[in-house]
């Protein structure tokens, strides 16, 4: 017979597929390790991306924030006179307006303890903080990502708030709850003062999704403040240079103008170490799983050294045998990784993750799924290559006699 292939002749894939069921315990360990790694990678990737996307997407191109001079890095520490937005509106042309409404949103950003009425109060020093934003209706003009999805806006002087979808989920408040009459509306305690929740804002993927909004006048009273945090302005004709010039001209206001997307991009940089920490934690667990896999596969392949030698006697090249062992490992990992991907998609997608004062909604998107698949594949390949190559080092005649006395 002269038809032996000159090129690479792989072992049939069914050989690898059948072998994964050879040791149920090893399959369980490998699949479990694969599932753990994939779930962690998808989870950490979704968290990192949600955090990054949430912060970055919170800035709207064309928006400028007027904040207190010296507080350009944190709007929550910023203080500007409550009169500043009005002075600005009168002084600058080129601010966007529609139907007589100017796109200027005076805002007060305050992290405050917030919990559902009836929920147990946090013990000790722990506080369940949420970012409460005091706004006027113009906030919806300058933040087009936010849309009232259910209920109505909060009335001033009535101790009412609206909440972002992710915060609503955390508080177990649904659309139906805010469609009730005033008496039946859900109540939350902000700094231990009851407030009715009148509506839910949809702002998917941005920081607003985890915030509570209330009339700015109410928040000023609640916090006993006379200054606001910032004024957010949408420009149409003017540019940031005009606002910087205004800020310089009105030194009495002690304000600074910053580009809103740039502010949030800078904020994203602030969270970079946290994102790295999440990634490194996932990597360490993945490495642990990989080392465990290496150990299990080393023993598994060594116990089959005679069979592996036999395959070479049949004429299969070392490369073909190594490929088959790697296929076997990848298939074993896949038995855990694929269900883990599905579970991650079902369990994590849309889940709100509390971070600092914000809540970010996880999105298990194509990139997260691809990262999970890549991690599973890497675990299968890198975890099996060293033991497979080590197995090939034994000379065939010695391997054929393995375990024989």
């Amino acid at each position: 017979m002269n038809d032996a292939r000159r090129g690479f002749a792989p072992l049939p894939i069914f050989y690898a597929a059948r072998n994964i069921g050879r040791s149920p315990l090893r399959l369980a360990l490998t699949a479990g390790g694969g599932a753990l790694v994939v779930f962690l990678v998808v989870g950490s990737m979704a968290s990192v991306r949600a955090l990054d996307r949430g912060v970055r997407a919170s800035g709207t191109p064309g928006n400028v924030m007027l904040v207190g001079a010296g507080s350009e890095e944190s709007v929550e520490r910023s203080e500007i006179p409550a009169s500043a937005p009005g002075v600005l509106a009168a002084s600058i042309e080129g601010i966007r307006h529609e139907g007589g409404a100017q796109f200027i949103s005076p805002e007060l950003h305050v992290p405050l303890p917030l919990r559902r009425e009836g929920d147990p109060a946090p013990e000790g020093n722990s506080r369940s903080l949420a970012l409460v934003r005091g706004v006027e209706p113009a906030a919806f003009l300058v933040h087009p990502q936010a849309r009232l999805a259910a209920g109505r806006l909060a009335d001033a002087g009535a101790d009412e708030i609206v909440v972002g979808r992710a915060l609503a989920a955390r508080l177990r408040i649904g659309d139906a709850d805010v469609a009730s009459s005033n008496e039946a509306l859900p109540v939350v305690l902000i700094d231990e003062r009851p407030h009715r929740v009148t509506g839910i804002i949809d702002a998917p993927g941005v920081a607003i999704d985890g915030e509570a909004w209330m009339p700015i006048s109410d928040l000023l009273v609640l916090t006993k403040r006379q200054t606001i945090s910032a004024a957010v302005v949408s420009l149409d004709g003017a540019d940031i240079g005009d606002l910087e010039a205004f800020a310089a001209r009105r030194s009495d206001l002690e304000i600074a103008a910053i580009d809103e997307p740039a502010y949030y991009a800078q904020l994203a940089q602030f969270f970079r170490p946290v994102q790295i920490l999440i990634g490194v934690s996932a990597l360490i667990v993945a490495l642990g799983a990989m080392l465990g896999g290496l150990n299990a596969l080393d023993a598994a392949f060594a116990s089959r050294s005679r069979e592996i030698a036999m395959l070479q006697v049949l004429g299969f090249s070392r490369g073909a045998v190594i490929l088959s062992l790697v296929q076997e490992s990848v298939l074993a990992v896949a038995t855990g990784a694929l269900p883990a991907l599905l579970i991650a998609r079902l369990a994590l997608d849309g889940v709100g993750v509390r971070f600092s004062m914000g809540v970010f909604s996880l999105s298990v998107d194509a990139t997260c799924v691809a990262s999970g698949l890549g991690a599973g594949l890497l675990l299968g390949v890198v975890g099996s290559l060293p033991p497979a190559i080590r197995c090939m080092r034994t000379a065939i005649p010695i391997a054929l006699k393995a375990d024989l006395t």
């Binding site: 049939p12 050879r22 036999m310």
Partner: protein, 233 residues
């Protein structure tokens, strides 16, 4: 029928191992010629070099010195990959312990070596059926090795060795793990393959009762050929 054309030619073949700083001479200056179509039994006491010689003939071990031409090919000069390619084409190997893959059926075990060859699925099926038929195990084609007796497993192993239609069939103690009745059946089968198909067979055995089925017996002792010059009987 056997012809005078040599299929194996060993000239001054040597195999040494280094063990604990000492050189172990397993084969020494071995000259042996086996002609195409012969059924040869390699006999000798333990450690005489029988299996080492068989491994050299199969190209799964390399000689320390000397010449070795098998089926017209000087296999001492081949690379590892070329040797695997040559082995797939020219050699069928029967192991004492069968070495069937436990997770594959008898059919799939026999089919396995055909994946090295560039042949169609239909042709693979034809050859596997033919091989299983020739070892009288067709009715067990869907059985896994654990569902077969030792004799049946060895029949499957023989089918796997002959399915590629190799020039040379090498058998290492093929009846060493079988009861008397099964061993007799296997030897009858190898004898039939030799008689009916002119198959060249080199078989290692330490059992004279097994060796009588061979056409020629070659004795090894301490790595040397006892039969003068390895001349065909």
């Amino acid at each position: 029928m056997a012809t005078v054309e040599p299929i194996i030619r060993c000239s001054s073949l040597e195999k040494h191992y280094e063990r604990g700083g000492e050189t172990v001479r397993v084969l020494e200056k071995l000259d042996l010629t086996i002609t195409r179509g012969q059924f040869v039994a390699l006999m000798g006491p333990s450690g005489s070099g029988k299996t080492t010689l068989l491994n050299l003939l199969a190209g799964i071990d390399r000689p320390t010195a000397g010449g070795l031409v098998v089926d017209g090919q000087d296999i001492t000069t081949l690379s590892r990959a070329a040797l695997a390619h040559w082995r797939a084409r020219s050699v069928g190997y029967i192991f004492q312990l069968y070495h069937l893959v436990p997770v594959l059926t008898a059919y799939e075990n026999v089919e396995l070596p055909l994946y090295v060859h560039n042949i169609s699925r239909r042709e693979r099926h034809r050859r596997v059926c033919e091989a299983l038929e020739s070892v009288s195990i067709s009715d067990r084609h869907a059985h896994y090795p654990s569902q077969l007796s030792g004799g049946q497993e060895q029949r499957v192993a023989i089918a796997r060795a002959i399915v590629t239609q190799p020039s040379l069939l090498l058998a290492d103690e093929p009846t060493g793990d079988l009861d008397r009745a099964s061993a007799a059946g296997i030897m009858e089968l190898l004898g039939r393959l030799h008689r009916e198909h002119g198959q060249t067979i080199v078989m290692v055995t330490h059992d004279p009762a097994t060796a009588v089925h061979a056409q020629r017996t070659v004795h090894l002792d301490k790595g040397r050929l006892v039969e003068p010059h390895g001349v065909a009987s």
